[in-house]
Amino acid sequence: MGQLNTTRNMAQADDVYEMLIDAHEGKSKPESDAFNARLIITLINHIGDKEVIAQALAIAEG
């Protein structure tokens, strides 16, 4: 059973954050929403572990 990594893990945080915002540049709200949905599905597949995803969902819930 996997464990969600909740320690600092992204060395180039600023770069990646900028990539994320840039990706939405010029997109309408519906286009951005659709983009986010595709991104989430893609990352979920990469994680590939139901337990880890459950932990991530709990964190997102706040």
Binding site: D33, A34, N36, A37, R38, I40, I41, T42, N45
Partner: protein, 544 residues
Amino acid sequence: MTMQDRYPLAYKTYPYAKCADQEAEAPARHPVVVVGGGPVGMALALDLALKGTRVLVLDDHEGVGMGSRAICFAKRQLEILDRLGCGETVAQKGVVWNIGKVFHGEEKVYEFNLLPEDGHKFPAFINLQQPYFEKFVLDHVAALQAQGLPLEIRGKNRVDAIEQDAEGATLTVMTPDGPYQVAADYVVACDGASSPLRKMLGLGFEGEVFKDSFLIADVRMKADFPTERWFWFDPPSKAGASQLLHKQPDDVWRIDFQIGWDADRAEEMKEANIRKRVAQMIGDDVEFELVWSSIYTFQCRRMTQFQDGRVIFAGDAAHQVSPFGARGANSGLQDADNLAWKLQLVLEGKAPPALLASYDDERIHGAKENILNSTRATDFITPKSEVSRQFRDAVLTLSKDHDFARPFVNSGRLSVPCTYDGSALNTDDALPAGPPRTRPGAPCPDAPLDEGFLLGRLGRAKDAAFQLLALDAEVPEAFSAHGIDCEVIALSVAENDMLRERYLGGARSAVYLIRPDQHVAARFGSFDAAETTEALGRAIGKEL
């Protein structure tokens, strides 16, 4: 007394005839009365009658209803019918299919192959109009009745009231000659999704209603679409929000259009409008005949308990699912399969009445599994919220180019037989190296034998006896315990790799205790009389 039919008949198989019970001073008593002669009621009645119990079926119509409804029947259901003697007839008429394609707009996003495993008598799925299915079962019943099968069907006998006590129930039955009463030790309610018996007993039917409606058109046409299941999300024809095309026998095709919750039903059901939608889908130039059409909405719901004293519910009366996944009739037949032998043993006094509680447990387990799968498919096909639609569309869009997204596409997870994991009737697995697929609770998978198939020898229709299946193990010629004679079948896996793979796995020998419904009750590495006796006692409810 006139009794209006609620639906037109395809076959008038059991016309009304006045019977002696209607003149009786006191209600005549029957061991089992089955209310409802649909696929579930008939399968159950046939199973019980083959085992020797006198069964009375009451149905408010005089035969099989028109209109196809179910078209996809799964392998397990053909195996159940085969045990009852009519699996081959049903399978022969059916259309065999393996490939399913999913489209999003113009593009194909996904294709699956049911990849039938070798060495099974029956294919993974067949398509067959429900009236044919019911007719073949009734023809088989009629042939057996002529040889003395203790099964009586009374058409235009509508159950209007029920009263029950600890010993049984009394039904008030309406006929064209007026009402009469019959009494029964057990009543099995197979009276369909709107089950009048469930309402008469004030029992709940909780679940979810989906806010969408579907128009079905069964059309006859000479078309060269392949024998595959085609499902469209957002079809290019715009004839519906989703669309399904599936072949049936006799050049008939099932077309399903998702037309939305607010659709004007009367308007949509006009033949001209249906023809317009169909033409949008198959093309203006294709000639077709409209065979049957209907609009349906659906629910996923079930009763909290399937048994209420002496009344037991089965099929749609007990649970209802959306059609996605073909789990309606398929799961109803598993109910019948599960209940028949238990009721038989209880009526014979060989098992305690508590055994019936295991029907409740096992089939509620099945119903939960079906409702879960069916609800998930429905949520994918008819997303309930904006965000749900966004994820659905994201999956479909990604699936075109990326294989990783395809497992998320859900146009219906097709019915597979239920394994009764955790059932109180199971004995803990004592064959650790054995294959998981034949663990206690599982339905036995088929395998080829020198002559015929394994399932042809398991689960005898004619009594509620258990069997011992020994594979390369020393066993006595016969085994008997708790008043039940078990037939012993000794086989060798030498030169039978499929049998080895499905029943031995890494083990060298095995002894399986098999229930009359072909589910595994227990399995061991070798035969031990005391262990087998204990397992058999557990499997017939002695520990409940």
